[in-house]
Subunit: 135 residues, 2 copies
DNA sequence: ATGGGTGCAAAGTGTTTGCAAGTAT
DNA sequence: ATACTTGCAAACACTTTGCACCCAT
């Protein structure tokens, strides 16, 4: 079972690459759909899965919705609890934590995923002004 | 809008408390159903949400399925990529990471969620023997 | 009594899949 | 030619909701 390079697959990959805001599957569908109004949801989902398998993109599991991004080094994420904007955190991936988890649990640990939750500068201002309800 | 204490709500809370393996919503439904075969799925979901709001239980977002557990201190989780068993990691919550994320990003960070991925001792053995396909 | 809670079934989400036709290799 | 891919629609899994009735306060 070898992967082929199809127009649709390239469109999906391009769409993920074109965004730097960790789009959801649905956002990618919308973007791709703007270029090719025949492509189906099933195809987009199928290709996101294939591209994740091949390591060309990263599937980021987050509260609220899953997101995708172009593969890079392992890194952590930060999501705004109010507007759900996601950004990468420029702190190096800490492999020592994995070692520690191995020692403490006896599991064979491959990796970890670290997600910070907070408020982005914009929402922070809005909250301070309006004392709105969050989370 | 003040919460009431109903039989169904207590059953749901008891079911979460009775388990120490991070049950999914459906597992809780099954457990509660064993005690009261009239309770509906909607009620279980509604109560899980209420109990999460009030802080009586914790909603843990994980790859594959969401899980619930009785609230405790903030702590990290470890999930087996093969059998999806979840366990708590006895490493103290590292607040310093939140500080660092604040410095690096300008977000107001409340907390983080840290999930390790690996193989539990059981699956590890099985994999080593059979060289099965994982992830 | 009154407003939150319940059971039920229907409706939502978000994602996967069976199928026949299409296409990259 | 072969078998991976596609579009479509139906199917899924999981969760939420509208409604009329019920019950904790």
């Amino acid at each position: 079972m070898k992967q082929r390079s199809t127009r649709q697959r390239r469109l999906v990959l391009d769409a993920v690459r074109a965004r730097c805001d960790h789009p959801s599957a649905d956002q990618i569908y919308t973007d791709v759909r703007a270029v090719d109004d025949k492509i189906s949801r099933g195809t987009v989902y199928r290709n996101l899965n294939v591209l994740e398998q091949t390591g060309e993109i990263l599937h980021v599991k987050l509260p609220v919705t899953d997101r995708y991004e172009v593969r890079a080094d392992r890194h952590d994420h930060l999501i705004c609890s109010r507007c759900h904007t996601v950004c990468d955190v420029p702190i190096p991936y800490d492999g020592a934590m994995d070692e520690r988890a191995i020692e403490e649990t006896g599991y064979l640990v491959f990796r970890h995923r670290l997600v910070f939750e907070g408020l982005c500068p914009d929402c922070r201002k809005k909250i301070e002004k309006a004392d709105l309800h969050v989370e």
